[in-house]
Amino acid sequence: MWGSPPGVKRTVNFITSILAVVSKDVRSELRTRYAMNALLMFVVTSVATILFALRDDDVSTEVLSGMFWVVIFFTAMSGLSRIFISEEERGTTMTLQLVASPSVVYLGKLIFNAGLTLALSSAVTLLYLIAFPAFIIKSMEIFTITIFLGSLGFAAAATIIAAIIAKASTKGTLYPVLSFPILIPLLMTVMKSTARALDGELFTAALGEFQVLVSYLMIMVAGSYLLFDYVWKE
């Protein structure tokens, strides 16, 4: 660009590349519809199973909150690994390596997964509101921030693990095994925070949890960004 310093141009290219990666994955998903259908069915069947198990039982907010995130965890586990496994299965990993630097690939895939997880949590929220009369969100602010930060944190951890297992043989079963220990701090915190939202506590009561969620997100993204080179490049 005439008159524009090279640093600016490089940043613009960087961002354009990342968005192009996201766009590719979105278009690919729309074209094939692999993940969306499977995930949707998974969410519906999980919620239905829990519904049958609990029925009219008087459930505490902690249990509801826990079950909520259990569904999200397992749905995420069945869907978030696709972005890397699909590249490995179709042999297009090499193609991506030729056109983009590892950071571009990582950030692009992360953004895609973040969007996917947000959509997922929203869907589960909707289903829970419909299926469980006891699921009443009394503190909307706590709930929305929890869902938002929780989904992003989920995506951050899940994406790097997905990149790792894409190179392994027993991908499907290995994914939850590797992800669970890493996600435990996140899960414990969001379950607590969601319970608070259901109990209608004050916003300030959840600040401790929000601090944890934000620091988890930052550490996971920073760590994954630095480590991704070692996972992606042979």
Partner: protein, 218 residues
């Protein structure tokens, strides 16, 4: 025209407690070409992948530079075009979608619709541009790989098995591409085809005793 140079120093590759090759050293500068030969499984493909920056060497180093300015592989890779039997394009997109999407990810300036058209015409796939790549034959996929490799006018072309899956017409196209590249740029081919290998100024045989030999011809 830019002057490109690639210097390989003491490169070795181990895999699963076995050394595939070692002590590989050579130098290439534009215009220049090298043929990597060797038995099946000797490591020709691996070496070409290492040159293209797809695989890292266990030992040794590779120095890339343009006009005397040294460059890391992350920057240099946009000056490399790579074709290989292991390369795949996206089966769910059409030919032209593949090229557009991939060039957008690469974000290198001189790839516009006109260039895409010229390249597709060059390999004879222009009339199949809106067909899903998943429906292509292996020969057509090979031709499409060349479009992908040449789209960003790379001064370095690395071709692993240049004519695999190609019919006579395809082979002619590739021969033409290689000759064009030889004029002022760098060409590296990994092949067992003696005729192709003889067209290069340098030859490297990968095997128990790798050595660089300058062969006559060119």
């Amino acid at each position: 025209m830019n002057s490109i140079s690639i210097t390989v120093n003491g490169v070795a590759k181990d895999f699963n407690r076995r050394t595939i090759f070692k002590d590989i050293s050579f130098s290439l500068s534009s215009p220049g070409s090298m043929a990597i030969t060797g038995k099946n499984g000797a490591g020709k493909s691996t070496l070409s992948k290492i040159l293209a920056g797809l695989v890292s060497a266990t030992r040794g180093s590779i120095a890339y530079s343009i006009d005397g300015r040294p460059m890391g592989i992350e920057e240099f890779k946009h000056h490399i075009g790579f074709v290989s039997p292991y390369l795949n394009l996206y089966d769910e997109f059409t030919a032209i979608e593949n090229l557009k999407i991939l060039s957008r990810i690469r974000t290198v300036s001189h790839t516009n619709d006109e260039r895409i058209r010229d390249m597709l015409l060059l390999v004879g796939l222009w009339n199949r541009r809106d067909d899903i790549v998943g429906t292509f034959s292996s020969g057509m996929k090979q031709r499409l790989k060349y479009t992908f490799a040449l789209l960003h006018t790379p001064p370095v072309l690395i071709l692993d098995e240049p004519t695999s899956n190609l019919d006579d017409e395809g082979m002619e196209i590739v021969k033409h591409i290689m000759q064009e590249q030889l004029k002022s740029n760098i060409l590296v081919i990994a092949t067992n085809n003696r005729e192709e290998a003889h067209g290069c100024t340098q030859q490297l045989h990968v095997g128990p005793l790798p050595h660089v030999g300058i062969s006559s011809g060119g």
